[in-house]
Every structure is written in structure tokens, then in C-alpha cells.
Subunit: 356 residues, 2 copies
């Protein structure tokens, strides 16, 4: 069955640096805990993992922010750890504790044991969610698919969960770099297949989240994170019968490395709030679109202050196309939903002048 | 009583970009939990705060790493939260939990209530520790005094402890910037007096730690962190009868802002491991010395890998003076002390060639 034609293609146009009448926007983690309707659905699901693995509920939470706000994209509700989960490392989400991996990957034998999951097998629940969301969206806005970067996913797999000092993975990176590369290679192959399956199922753009690339020294970033994201970009199906599928790369804390990131071949780069978009634009010289970059903590301030900061972000990108407005990181769970609404209204109101 | 003449002045020379036969080094948090002798003294003290407030024990742990390793500086054992402690906000360190502040500073009335502590009054225990350490050092190496940056200390005071999202302080910064400035002003006055008292008591160099400056957007960094560090530098006694007292500023995550930081008037800038020292040196154009920047997680790797990474840091700074070797952040508590020794030996062995 063919997909419904897209009624709002602002996001896809901006990601490909084509003209749009205003700056499109979405929010990282827009389907999330700051929304009471999300918390209700999650309570119904029982656990975070159940919510990810149930296509109907994943679809429900994906659409919730679109019913509340005039956003220009939906993003698949899922988690970057679906791949390790399918690799049988024993993933669990403990309440308030973040992810825990029962069998961390630390030896060559641990790495040899890792399968490349079949995206339409163990990960079929993700593809079913993509198909269902596309049907339910019915062309309202495009759907973004996503995955974690191999370095970021590898960090969780080696550390066994969140970490502050990165002791195990950096011990491996500096002490056994060949082993580190073998692990990143298998995650890269799994991730490429996974994102291609999301595209086949209907994702109209894809984003790779490199949450932990910014903890690396510059040379290690290029060798252990960026190089693998570049391999993913190279392996993606970038054209479908619906058209071009733009690819977005985002390294949190990677503002100094945007020039290197351009070489990875993505259409757009995410930028966090610690880099001025004017500087970022100079660095990438309009070879890619930029996505970002309001400090998510601006949403703790009152609406009039939020509006002033939105104005500043729009001004820092300046005139011309190729900007997708977003937060510089995921929306915080304790933000007032009305404050998110104030930000969105400000983008609608203030951005057209930059596209005239 | 005059101080003993300095037997090893490599640190002071390097901070002032004068010639040295090799690259001097010390480690942030060198007196810390990775050392069994530190853990023994801390157990004797009963609590972290007792250890800070007892000049004899603070002196003991300050000297411990110097008895174990050939380091080129001692750094006062203390904490960046001594100032809020003396401002009566109710500081406590809960075991394994980090600092907690019983009365966070969130309203204009809270700010009005804050005293500027007398460094030789409520904070006399710090000055007594400086005096005792100088006497016990007997000229072996110079003693570095320190304080937190106003933005960093303010973060703890407003948040009431550590934080992930900076919700309260960013709510204040974006929503009530005048109030934010008033708080930073009082902390700045207190910190300037505190560092001047450390210098009067015998500190031969001082460092300002801006642990949280890197969570700010560039414009906010300049306005709410760097401007106040610049005021501190301006207010310091930089010459004593012993000679020039170099000032080091360190913003973790501030690698993109080194050019701005040069304007603050310090003698040296700390650099974390996410910036290549070659790039940092280009940015500062030899107007200041640079301190850093080995990834502290390199010390999780075996000694031969540590040596290779030390070589790379030395090579990235390159030939010439004005480099103080250090980690890019504090040494991790779970590092093997022999690995720190391997790093130090490598600096002694490999650095002379860059000074020939």
C-alpha cells in the first residue's frame, strides 16, 4: 500500500537545504516524560522496555506531541539500546536508574559471541512501530528513524550501563584498540542494517545520536566514533520511491569537530548549545544543514525569556535555508509543557523573516 | 619568618613561559582517593569536611603524592566549596553522594543574606593549612592555591548540590539575569579576598577551577563565567616579595573559548583532553602558557599505552616552553597508582627533547 502524500515537507526540505517559508522544528525527546499523556501511556505499558517493544503504544506516544504542538516532524519512539538488547547482552531499565546490561562486553570472546540481529526478526517490533506510525501519521509530517552511534552504543555495552569515568571502554580503547575496533565493526554492521530496515518500513529521514563522542580526545573521536558513523552513512539507502532520505549526525559536545563531521557525508549535523550556530555555519560552509541548538535548560525560564533566546538562536543561524530548529539536547523531563509551547510559537512567529 | 628558597621552580618558570630543561608536571586531584595513604588519612579524619578543616591532616595529604612521585608542584588540599560553607548555606558531604547544601540560594533575599567571609576568620583553617604546607615543603616544590570559579561555586549554591540539568541556576540565569549577576558578584568578591589571603599565606601560584563553565552557551559563558574570573584575576596580588605569582584559569569543556580566555589576563590556561594542544597553542599564540591535557581515563590502560599517550600530548604541544603537563581533569579514584607513576616517568623521560 503506498504511503499518503506528505502534507508538511518543511523538515525534509530544510535538511536538504532547500527553500522553506519558515524554519521547521522538532524537539529531541519530544515524546517523553515532560508530557503527562506520555507518563500515562508509560504507566499502562508497565516498563520503558515494554513501551518500546509494543508497536501500538510506541505509536501512541510518538503521536502525542504532534497532537499538542505544531511540530514539523515525528520521531520514532524507541531507544538507542534496542540493538544491544537484540544482541542478548541482558538489557534492563531499572526505575530511575537508567539502563543496566547484565552481561557487559569486555573480552574478545564476548565480542565474538555477538550476533548481527535481523531487523525484521528480533527487531521486528521496531519496524512494526515504524509501519504503524507512518499509517497513523497519514502524511501529516515526516517520520524520523534513528539509532545510536556505534561508539555510544558500545559504551553502554562495555560499561554495562551509564558511566561517569568510562573506565572499561577507555581501558579497551587505549589498551586494546584492535578489540575496540572489532566491537565497533559489529555494531556498525548491525546499525546499518537496522536503519536501512527503518527506511524500508517508512522512515523518511534518519538520525544517528552520538551521545558520548564528546568525551573523546580529537584523534580518538575521528578514529573510534566518526569513522563508524561515516561507514553507516555510506551504507544507507538514501533514495526510496518516496524520494531522498536525509541523514542527520549529532555528536553531543562535538562542536569543535564540525568540519571533520562534514566529511562523513551526512545531509545535516546536529549542534548542541555550546557552539554558536554562526560559528558552526562558518565551519560547515553551507555544505550541510544544521539542526539545533537552544539550551534545553532555557525552558526552565519564563515564556518571555524563552522567546528572547529563540530569537537569538534564529539570528545566530541568520538568513537563508538549511536550519532545522531544535533543542541542543533532549527536552528535560521536569520542563513545563507550556514552556515548550512558548518555544514552538516563537519559532513560528520569528523565523519567517529569515526566509524572505 | 622567611620561606625556604625554592629548590624546584620548573612549574613557576613554565607558567611564565620561561625556559625549563623539561616539561614540569603535576596532577589535578593528586592528593586523592586513588592513593591508599590518602584513604588512611581520610579515615582518620572521619569525614571529607573534617579533613579539609584540619590543617595538620590537610598538610599530610597534600604532601603524600610528593613522597611517592617526582612531581613539580604541591596543590593545597581543600575544596572549592569552602566559600559557600563559610557563607552559612549548610554544606555537607554525604558519603558517596557528593556535596549537599541545606539552604540553597534561590531568591533575592537569599542572596542579600550572604556574607563575604573573612579569609583569616571563618576560613582561617585554609590559611593555616597553606602556612603549614609551606613550612613542611621547605622549598621542595612550589605550592598552588586554588578556588572554584564564581559560576561553578554559584551552581552548587543555587542547585543545592551536584546537578545534571542545571534547572535552578539556568532558570535564574535566563529568567532573572540581574539576580544571577548579584550572586556572582558576591562570590567574586569573596573569592578574590580568599585567593589573596592564600597568596599572603604562602601560595606561589593560584588556579581557578571552572568545572561547570562548559555547560553554558558561548555568550553566557563570557557573561556569567569568564567575566567574573577576569575580575578575580584583576583583583589578585600578583607580585609578592618572593616574586611573581602566576594565575591559571581552567574551564572544563572550554576548549573552543581559549581565545576569549586569554583576554582574562591569566598567565596560563588549563585545557581538557577534548582539545588538541596544537590547536590550543595556535588559538592562544603563545600569549599564555598551557596546562594539560592527558585524558585521565588513559590511566586505565596498561603502562606502555600510557607512555604512548604521554608522547602524543608532548608532541601535540611541540617544541618550546610554556607547557605544564597535567591530566585534562582530576585523576579518577579507581586508577592504579602505578599507572600514575608510569605517566610521570614518561614525562620525565620524553619531555627534555622538546626543550633542547
Amino acid at each position: 500500500m503506498p504511503h499518503a502524500p506528505l502534507k508538511n515537507d518543511l523538515l525534509l526540505r530544510a535538511l536538504l537545504r532547500k527553500p522553506t517559508p519558515r524554519t521547521p522544528l522538532w524537539m529531541m525527546r519530544q515524546a517523553g516524560r515532560y508530557l503527562p499523556e506520555y507518563r500515562a501511556t508509560r504507566a499502562k505499558a508497565g516498563s520503558f522496555l515494554n513501551l518500546c517493544m509494543n508497536p501500538e503504544l510506541a505509536c501512541e506516544v510518538t503521536l502525542q506531541p504532534l497532537d499538542r504542538y505544531p511540530l514539523d516532524a515525528a520521531i520514532l519512539f524507541s531507544d538507542i539500546l534496542t540493538i544491544p538488547h537484540a544482541m542478548n547482552v541482558g538489557l534492563e531499565f531499572e526505575a530511575g536508574e537508567g539502563p543496566k546490561i547484565a552481561r557487559p562486553v569486555r573480552t574478545p570472546a564476548d565480542i565474538d559471541r555477538l550476533p548481527v540481529p535481523d531487523p525484521e526478526g528480533e527487531l521486528r517490533y521496531v519496524m512494526d512501530a515504524v509501519r504503524l506510525i507512518r499509517r497513523e501519521l497519514n502524511g501529516r509530517v515526516p517520520l524520523i528513524g534513528f539509532a545510536g552511534s556505534p561508539w555510544t552504543v558500545g559504551t553502554y555495552m562495555v560499561e554495562g550501563g551509564g558511566t561517569k569515568n568510562f573506565s572499561h571502554i577507555k581501558g579497551m580503547l587505549y589498551g586494546a584498540p584492535d578489540q575496540m575496533h572489532r566491537l565497533l565493526d559489529v555494531i556498525t554492521r548491525a546499525t546499518t542494517a537496522y536503519l536501512n530496515a527503518q527506511i524500508a518500513a517508512g522512515a523518511q529521514a534518519v538520525m544517528v545520536f552520538d551521545t558520548w563522542g564528546g568525551v573523546l580526545a580529537p584523534q580518538e573521536y575521528r578514529e573510534f566514533s566518526l569513522a563508524y558513523m561515516a561507514r553507516i552513512v555510506e551504507g544507507l539507502t538514501k533514495e526510496t520511491e518516496e524520494g531522498r532520505v536525509p541523514v542527520i549526525l549529532f555528536t553531543k559536545g562535538g562542536g569543535a569537530w564540525l568540519e571533520d563531521m562534514v566529511q562523513a557525508g551526512a545531509d545535516a549535523l546536529g549542534v548542541d548549545w555550546t557552539t554558536d550556530l554562526a560559528d558552526a555555519r562558518l565551519a560547515v560552509r553551507d555544505r550541510v544543514a544544521l539542526q539545533g541548538n537552544l539550551d534545553p535548560s532555557v525552558l526552565y525560564a519564563p515564556p518571555e525569556a524563552i522567546r528572547a533566546q529563540v530569537a537569538r538562536v534564529l539570528e545566530s543561524y541568520g538568513r537563508g535555508h538549511g536550519h532545522v530548529f531544535n533543542l541542543g539536547h533532549g527536552i528535560h523531563p521536569d520542563v513545563n509543557p507550556e514552556h515548550a509551547g512558548a518555544m514552538i510559537a516563537a519559532v513560528h512567529e520569528l523565523s519567517p523573516q529569515y526566509h524572505a
